[in-house]
């Protein structure tokens, strides 16, 4: 199972994401922002960081990168894509997911181990979790407030597209405590906290994050 991890100028978490893919039993493939060749991957991770320095808006310039042109086209045909943090911002800017991520309501950059509840577990990226399972993974963002108009929020809730919700505290002002969402078919998932930083007990607060990557490997094996 080949899972591509994109490196943009300013990506920070591409190596951790690639490591998480390998620990989950997948083969990680490095993809470069300036190259529209997806190298035959079965799925793609858009990692966290500050692509293009977050200039203009987070993810606004990344969406026009050659690699994104290919990913946007293929995602529409069912290629699984996981966007973490900056990757979530890129997915929203690319209109692959609805809504947008805005400046944290308290203006501070936040870095903490965050408890979230998994709410949709039939997606390509969350099938290794139990519905209602509570996990702890790192959260680190300055512009992680999820916003959308009420009609969009109602649709997300009504169709069960909220995949994870913040517990204990709402760390960034996200509407309805939304930490992550998916498209209706469950192939595209955006998530603000970082599962790739919680895959080994030596370095993470837990190994709860590994499930996102195991899920994709499960889904890809199952589809063959």
């Amino acid at each position: 199972m080949k899972i591509g991890v994109v490196t943009f100028p300013g990506s920070l978490d591409d190596r951790d994401a690639a490591r998480a893919v390998r620990l989950a039993g997948g083969e990680s493939v490095s993809l470069w922002h300036g190259d529209d060749d997806l190298k035959g991957v079965d799925a793609v991770v858009l990692p966290g960081g500050f692509s293009y320095g977050d200039y203009l808006r987070c993810g606004a310039i990344a969406k026009f990168a050659p690699v994104m042109t290919s990913i946007i086209a293929r995602a529409g045909e069912g290629l699984p894509v996981l966007g973490i943090c900056n990757g979530f911002q890129i997915l929203c800017e690319s209109h692959l997911l609805p809504g947008a991520l805005t400046r944290n309501d308290h203006l501070h950059f936040i870095c903490r181990d965050q408890r979230v509840r998994m709410e949709r577990t039939d997606t390509t990226w969350t099938n290794a979790y139990a519905e209602g399972e509570e996990i702890v993974i790192p959260l680190k963002n300055g512009e992680g407030g999820y916003v959308a108009d009420d009609a969009t929020l109602d649709r997300l809730e009504g169709e069960g597209l909220v995949i994870a919700r913040y517990l204990d505290v709402n760390p960034n002002g996200s509407l309805r405590d939304i930490a992550g969402i998916s498209n209706p078919s469950g192939t595209i998932v955006g998530l603000m906290p970082h599962p790739e930083h919680a895959v080994e007990s030596l370095t993470g607060p837990s190994t709860d994050g590994l499930g996102f990557f195991v899920s994709a490997v499960n889904a890809l094996v199952g589809s063959r």
Binding site: A60, P98, A100, H106, L107, V147
Partner: protein, 81 residues
């Protein structure tokens, strides 16, 4: 050489914590009577030639697809005299 100005603002229903922080500074600097502050972005675009219909159509497309995110922002575009 025409100059085109694009102003981008968060939509009214979107919380603007930066604007709110600026408003807090007004009060600390003893300036009162300010009901609200909203912060936006201003782009000054200088064209090689005149602001033709075709050039403005391109800039409207850029304002819509690049300079603003229509999910949370609105823009105005005007040609400066």
């Amino acid at each position: 050489m025409a100059r085109v100005v694009v102003d981008v603002m968060l939509k009214p229903e979107i919380l603007d914590p930066q604007g709110r922080a600026v408003m807090g500074a007004f009060a600390r600097l003893d300036v009162h009577g300010v009901a609200d502050v909203r912060q936006g972005k201003r782009f000054e675009i200088t064209l090689d030639g005149d602001a033709t219909d075709a050039a403005l159509a391109d800039l409207h497309r850029m304002a819509e697809e690049l300079l603003s995110n229509p999910v949370i922002e609105s823009y105005t575009l005007r040609v400066e005299d």
